[in-house]
């Protein structure tokens, strides 16, 4: 018998998995931030744009699906966070809007604003989206300032259920150092993954030597800021839920306790981190090793997925409020049992979707990309 609670846990797993995949695919954004630094000639820049341009839709689609799945499974989060932290989400969306056209338009004649403006917009998306998504996810651990009162719907003049208390509407998250640490970590992670992707995909003597050098310079700050965030979080108070009274309270070292009480998540989390580091370190040590992206990519998916499981499972509030009793948990913010069940049937298609993505990816990436491929491609950017 599938219980309501099991469905809520299942859907939090799906959200966490999508979050992990999104974090991995942000390598496209990370790569966009190298357009003006790694490449010096127009050909080099064109090569970078084109290998990234064949993948940007995956990141975009995952973001949209992540949003849609959150809406369907935890609608109270959707209404509270998007309607409350308005400016953070709008800035993220704005950066994705400009990305969507920039690959296609940047090299086309008649594009009005010139190639460099579109490449500048790609740079902006790479910087803003990675950093702000990191900051937004950090608030899942550090909390925000909102109040939820479902009774408000009966007040004709003030019917809004979720009310954000801070007038900065999400921008206040930028004044929290722990949030900034995760933002910076995600930014450098995306650049690290981008370099591993370039190493795997691009065949170009000059660029290849640069990838190796840049990898250490980006992996190091990623590791430092990620460790600061993780250690700080494990040592901080967390938002726990009393399963009997459903009362939410601050519990010392809650996230550390969660790791200990959920050993599978602990092991998976550590394995994920090791895989990320393995991909990076082996790529640094050997120029012949080109598969770092697969180790670090899968490691990223596993690490981020388990980080999100850590904040959603074991009677924890995944979207806490400093007004404690308004905090969101997977049980008080989820869709009905019927909807979660219906959605779970649809989720059976996910392995099928992953399989055809893998098949298509393999079909297109049989050999590494060089300038000749780009110049012979009718649709190259």
């Amino acid at each position: 018998m599938i219980s309501y609670s099991l469905l809520q846990h299942y859907w939090w797993f799906i959200i966490s998995l999508l979050g992990g995949i999104l974090a991995f695919l942000l390598f496209v954004q990370g790569g966009q931030t190298f357009l003006f630094s790694l490449s010096k000639t127009n050909d080099e820049r064109k090569l970078l744009v084109n290998v990234l341009g064949r993948k940007w839709e995956f990141t975009f689609t995952t973001l949209v699906t992540f949003g849609g799945a959150f809406f369907a499974s935890f609608p109270l989060f959707y209404s509270t966070s998007f309607g409350g932290a308005y400016w953070v989400w709008m800035a993220i969306l704005f950066s994705f809007v400009v990305q969507a056209v920039s690959f296609e338009f940047q090299s086309k004649p008649g594009n009005v604003f010139g190639t460099n403006v579109y490449r500048g917009l790609l740079y902006f998306n790479g910087l803003a989206a990675t950093f702000l998504i990191g900051v937004a996810i950090a608030t899942f651990f550090t909390g925000s300032d909102f109040i939820i009162n479902k009774g408000n719907i009966t007040e004709q003049l003030t019917p809004t259920i979720s009310v954000w208390q801070n007038p900065l509407h999400g921008l206040e998250a930028l004044f929290n150092i722990r949030n900034l640490c995760l933002g910076i970590a995600v930014f450098f992670l995306s650049r690290t993954l981008a370099l591993l992707f370039f190493i795997n995909r691009i065949s170009h003597d000059v660029l290849e030597s640069k990838f190796q050098k840049a990898l250490l310079l980006n992996a190091l700050p990623f590791v430092v800021f990620f460790l600061i965030f993780v250690i700080w979080t494990l040592l901080s108070d967390g938002y726990g839920v009393n399963p009997n009274t459903l009362e939410i309270k601050l519990i010392s070292n809650k996230y550390f306790i969660n790791l200990i009480e959920m050993p599978i998540i602990l092991v998976a989390f550590l394995l994920g981190v090791v895989a990320v580091l393995y991909g990076v370190i082996r790529s640094l040590l050997s120029k012949e090793f080109k598969s770092g992206i697969w180790f670090s990519g899968i490691g990223t998916i596993v690490t981020v997925c388990n980080l999100l499981l850590l904040v959603g499972y074991n009677n924890t509030s995944f979207y806490p409020s400093i007004n404690l009793q308004s905090s969101l948990t997977i049980s008080n913010s989820s869709s009905s049992e019927f909807t979660l069940k219906a959605m779970s049937i649809v989720s059976i298609f996910i392995p099928f979707v992953l399989a055809y993505i893998f098949y298509a990816w393999r079909a297109m990436e049989k050999s590494r990309t060089n300038m000749e491929d780009i110049n012979n491609d009718h649709h190259s950017y």
Binding site: L93, F94, I153, T339, H379
Partner: protein, 513 residues
């Protein structure tokens, strides 16, 4: 407690309308051009004729430019349900979120995976794999239209749900009911209109080549495919338009009254074939004649709306006053509905109070009262009957112009196909000019359709259940004003760039292999 800023509602509506209208400039072409280029590639694969590959690649390039900006304008719409309509997201997210998630999982991934092969895989995969990728890209785009239109149709005709007073939201109880005939008709009508847009685009651009006496074979082949496809699609648009209008008559009588400018209902109502509204008529209940001029087709509206030549079609005043017979008994007046809506809201409040006090007996009584009155829940937020009346001139003219354009497209594709068949299209310049200048008319018709569908159902976010004023987020109107102008400037700039890029590509013409 901070009261809701009235201008917030207007700015939030303006932002959603603006982003939706921009998005809809690009989606129909994606849907229509996608199928046309897939047909062309199929011909190439079946015949092995390289000319069809060249033709396919040219239209695919234009498809790509249009697709990118369609994606860019689309992402903001999904998230606006949360950013600007947060109450809505909670109140109906249990039902509305599901189609959006399914759209992401089943449609967007298909589209984004295979579009990459479609654009970049010509030399990397086999001919048949490439063709399958092209069709799967278009299938993904069409499936995404299906799910978002299912969601939109549900807002116009909410079914398959039950209100839960404990969670204070509507919850899905029947998934298949959500995919209602209303939704299917809406989906088909919308997708077929996209096919018409794609056909107009191909016929129009190809006509430009004929006018310039360039790429004659390319142009004639393209026109042949697009005219057959366009003629079929425009006939299907009219058929599904009839089904959609029938649904509106059954479930949204106020919208139908606005579409036809009917203030006072009657049996055996005629359909306005042509009409000019009287600008002096300012109020729904004044005695001024609503029309300066009108030409009617007798009894036709009763036939189309109710499949009965003598059926009573209620006007705006009948709907507000009630008292006429419907399939569900006697229609209620606005005041009756308002009273029931207020009673439902009050019952919900009392239910919550008694639940907090663990007074189960009272909670049960209030729950029963709430259930009885819930179908009019949204009316409890309305103050005056005039709030139920949409902008009549806007809806009336939009509807009639859309229908006129739809009829014009049938005639146009018929003539173009005939001339292509008779091989006279190349020498007949007047039809080439008409085809060229008909491209913008397709965009106009599509936007008018959405104006009728969305403006016609005001003031509702969810028909009868949730008015927009109760669906809104708790943010300042200044915040929405800023994002409104940011997106307006951005989308306008991108539109200008898109049009210029398109024109440059068209001037350049199809490339030699």
């Amino acid at each position: 407690m901070k009261l809701m800023d009235v201008s917030l509602l207007d700015w939030s509506r303006a932002q959603f309308a603006m982003t939706a209208m921009y998005h809809w400039l690009f989606v129909p072409l994606t849907l229509g051009l996608g199928v046309i280029m897939s047909i062309m590639e199929t011909i190439y694969v079946r015949t092995g004729n390289e000319e069809w590959k060249r033709i396919t690649k040219f239209w695919m390039t234009l498809f790509g430019i249009n697709f990118a900006i369609g994606v860019a304008t689309g992402i903001i719409l999904e998230f606006e349900f949360g950013t600007n309509w947060s109450n809505y997201s909670w109140f109906v997210g249990d039902i509305f979120g599901a189609p959006l998630a399914i759209e992401g999982i089943l449609a967007f991934f298909m589209e984004s995976t295979f579009i990459s092969i479609m654009f970049f895989g010509w030399n990397k995969v086999s001919k048949s794999f490439h063709l399958a990728s092209t069709w799967l890209t278009v299938t993904g785009a069409t499936l995404s239209a299906l799910w978002i239109l299912v969601a939109n149709a549900w807002m116009q005709h909410p079914v398959g749900m039950q209100f839960n007073p404990i969670t204070v939201r509507n919850e899905m109880v029947d998934f298949w009911a959500v995919i209602s005939p209303f939704a299917i008709h809406k989906f088909l009508h919308t997708v077929f209109s996209g096919w018409v847009m794609g056909s107009l685009f191909v016929v129009g651009i190809s006509s430009w080549y004929l006018l310039k006496k360039r790429e004659i074979n390319f142009a004639k082949n393209s026109i042949l495919i697009a005219s057959i496809f366009g003629l079929s699609a425009s006939l299907l648009v009219s058929l599904t338009g009839d089904s959609s209008a029938y649904d509106v008559a059954q479930h949204q009588p106020m919208k139908l009254a606005a579409m036809e400018g009917i203030y006072k209902g009657e049996k055996g109502t005629g359909l306005i074939a042509f009409g000019i509204l009287n600008p002096e008529k300012k109020m729904y209940n004044d005695s001024i004649d609503p029309f300066l001029v009108k030409v009617e087709i007798p009894k036709m509206l009763s036939i189309l709306g109710y499949r009965d030549k003598d059926a009573f079609v209620p006007g705006i005043n009948d709907i507000l006053k009630g008292g006429y017979e419907t399939n569900n008994g006697k229609a209620m007046s606005f005041e009756d509905k308002q009273e029931r809506g207020l009673a439902a809201i009050e019952s919900l409040k009392e239910f919550q109070n008694s639940n907090t006090k663990h007074d189960e007996a009272t909670a049960m009584i209030e729950k029963t009262k709430l259930k009885k009155n819930f179908s009019e829940f949204g009316y409890g937020y309305l103050k005056h009957p005039s709030e139920l009346v949409p902008d009549i001139p806007m809806i009336f003219y939009s509807f009639h112009l859309m229908v006129a354009l739809g009829l014009f497209f049938i005639a146009l594709f018929g003539v173009v196909f005939f001339m292509t068949y008779k091989n006279t299209i190349e020498s007949t310049r007047w039809i080439q000019w008409i085809c060229l200048f008909s491209i913008p008319l397709g965009y106009v018709a599509g936007e008018l359709g959405w104006i009728v569908a969305e403006m016609g159902r005001q003031p509702w976010a969810i028909q009868d259940v949730l008015p927009l004023k109760a669906a809104i987020s708790g943010i300042s109107s200044d915040s929405v004003k800023i994002t409104f102008f940011l997106f307006l400037i951005l989308f306008t700039a991108l539109l200008i760039a898109e049009i210029r890029i398109m024109l440059q590509q068209i001037k350049k013409g199809p490339e030699m292999e």
